[in-house]
């Protein structure tokens, strides 16, 4: 870990002195390893993404090459063929995009409801005591069995499907928010109180920020759940959509196509997760910095 010596004036005095006026810290970066290591870094990152999947696909390929690998486990090239044929066609617009739209709407609503309600419950033990059994009750109900009720209340169109997504994936966000809010550092809460930081500001600068690591955990779980629930919601009152297509393939024994649909689900999950990672990197920048700071990075 030996980095070349950086020879430059240090302009960050602990206290401003006469000679060294408070100059901002030098913008020059050390010509150190961090920069030169780029190409290797890119390679490593590619390996991170692709290595294990490649190994798994290889293993699966070997498995399907056996004679007794059945009808339900087609070879990867069959799946890839089906994938190309299915999703590089107009189905992308008919099935995939509308589903994605509902998925993102549902996820956004769930995030809003989950965080909003979570903050409310997390802050007030009384409200929490009142609401918890009810919420636990609702949480244990399989979303599919509520579909009839939702159809009556929200119709059979996108509204119902979004409602199923929200109902199913709000829970991780809600629970994590509640727990995150409950765990706000008491010293920090006291600080905010005595400086008169209350109301919305308190939520914004204290509660949400300090609960954000846990909220992020909830959102990350919810993102994958939302995809699952997108599929489940399209099992009802549907005639199109990615989930619908997968179920159809399954029912009509179009197995390579079904797997192609699942692969697409996985890819959507991976892409959304990666985007989420970017957002999380920004939101939790301080958190990661804080942790790595102590390791001297």
């Amino acid at each position: 870990m030996n980095r070349p010596t950086v020879d430059r004036p240090r302009a960050a005095p602990a206290a401003p002195t006469e000679q060294e006026a408070p100059v901002a810290r030098p913008p020059r970066r050390p010509a150190g390893a961090a920069r030169t290591a780029r190409p290797a870094g890119a390679l490593l990152r590619t390996a991170h993404v692709l290595l294990l999947p490649a190994v798994l696909v290889g293993a699966y390929w070997a498995f399907t090459a056996r004679p007794d690998a059945g009808f339900y486990t087609p070879t990867p090239d069959a799946i890839a063929g089906a994938f190309a044929e299915l999703w590089f066609s107009e189905r992308l617009f008919v099935d995939v995009l509308p589903s994605l739209g509902r998925l993102l709407t549902g996820f956004a609503l769930a995030a809003l409801v989950g965080v909003g309600l979570g903050v409310l419950l997390g802050l007030d033990a009384r409200v929490r005591a009142i609401a918890e059994p009810v919420l636990e009750f609702l949480r244990a109900i399989p979303p599919p069995v509520l579909v009839p009720l939702m159809i009556m209340l929200a119709g059979i169109d996108d509204g119902m499907k979004v409602a199923v997504i929200v109902f199913g994936c709000v829970w991780p966000i809600l629970l994590n928010t509640v727990e995150g809010v409950r765990a706000v550092d008491p010293v920090l809460a006291d600080t905010a109180r005595c400086y008169g930081i209350g109301g919305v500001t308190r939520l914004r600068v204290l509660v949400l920020r300090s609960a954000s690591p846990q909220i992020m955990a909830g959102l990350r779980l919810a993102l994958a759940l939302a995809i699952i629930l997108m599929v489940i919601s399209e099992m009802f009152a549907s005639s199109s959509g990615l989930g619908f297509a997968i179920v159809q393939f399954q029912r009509t024994f179009a197995i390579p196509e079904m797997w192609a649909g699942m692969v697409l689900l996985g890819i959507i999950g991976f892409v959304l997760s990666s985007l989420f990672e970017l957002v999380e990197g920004r939101v939790l920048g301080w958190y990661r910095g804080l942790r790595s700071a102590h390791r001297g990075e």
Partner: protein, 280 residues
């Protein structure tokens, strides 16, 4: 140099100051019952007022009556028992696997980096879509149900554990390092307690998702349990009975949560979220 010993607990004297912020711990059972009662009243009102047809969404009283009637029969409890068995076993397996892997990979970020893409790829695959595969591999017995429950629960706990492991206070970690605590000891004494709140949330999430999948599996595969009962009720058009089973499921959820909460209160005594509730 002896600091005065803990003073011998004089009972808090006198009445509290008027107007002081009296922060008694809320009476949970009473408040919780109030919440449930409110839900039941709402449920009673919605169909009775005609917001949805009563025939398709029976009021609470009717459903509870049906439930009460069924609860007196053996098949009811057998179904509940089957469901809970699949649930408990699946949850236990998922919990053990997720905790093991979560701690192992969580504390080995270099290795973990290679798994992230695969994990993100696998997580959004619905358990339900795996049913044909499950049946193909394990038939219709308990193992199929287990596969679905474990697959769904695993990710929940696993991701929570990963976030929890990342939450370790660096000063605490460095303390452990400098006192020569080995990897296992660090996990046991530092990482594990830090992760616990996350793990508890993961457990609560997985507990209900496990229940849902245990039921869904029975619903679709047709192995005995609540799910099979719901199918039968649905196919027979017995709406009140369907909702009675839904209520039974919800009640199971509440009971399970009570258990996890009690556990949490024991193991997280020291944590801000719990100690704040019982403190002065």
């Amino acid at each position: 140099m002896s600091t005065a010993a803990v003073p011998p607990a004089p009972a808090p004297r006198g009445a509290r100051r008027p107007g002081a912020r009296v922060r008694t711990a809320p009476n949970r059972p009473v408040l919780g019952s109030a919440g449930v009662l409110a839900l039941l009243l709402l449920w009673e009102a919605v169909p009775r007022l005609g917001a949805v047809p009563e025939r398709h969404f029976p009021p609470a009283s009717e459903v509870l009556a049906t439930l009460a009637e069924r609860a007196g029969t053996t098949p009811f409890w057998e179904a509940v028992g089957h469901t809970l068995f699949g649930w408990a076993l699946g949850l236990a397996i998922a919990f053990a696997a997720a905790v093991l892997l979560g701690f192992a990979l969580g504390s080995a970020p270099r290795v973990r980096a290679f798994t992230t893409s695969t994990v993100d790829f696998l997580r959004p695959i619905p358990s339900v879509a795996l049913i044909p595969l499950a049946v193909l591999m394990y038939g219709t017995d308990i193992r199929s149900t287990l596969l679905l429950v474990v697959y769904a629960c695993f990710w929940l706990i696993y991701i929570q554990v990963l976030y929890g492991v990342a939450d370790v206070d660096p000063v605490a970690e460095q303390t452990a390092l400098s006192y020569g605590l080995g990897r296992l000891a660090r996990i046991r004494h530092v990482v594990w307690p830090t992760t616990l709140p996350y793990l508890m949330t993961g457990l609560r999430l997985a507990a209900s998702v496990g229940l849902i999948l245990s039921i869904t599996a029975q619903l679709i595969i047709g192995s005995p349990g609540i799910g099979q009962q719901i199918t039968a009720a649905q196919q027979g058009g017995a709406v009140a009975l369907v909702y009675a089973w839904i209520v039974a499921t919800g009640v199971l959820g509440v009971v399970i949560n009570l258990g996890v909460r009690a556990l949490e209160h024991r193991v997280l005594r020291w944590h801000t979220s719990v100690r704040g509730e019982s403190a002065a």
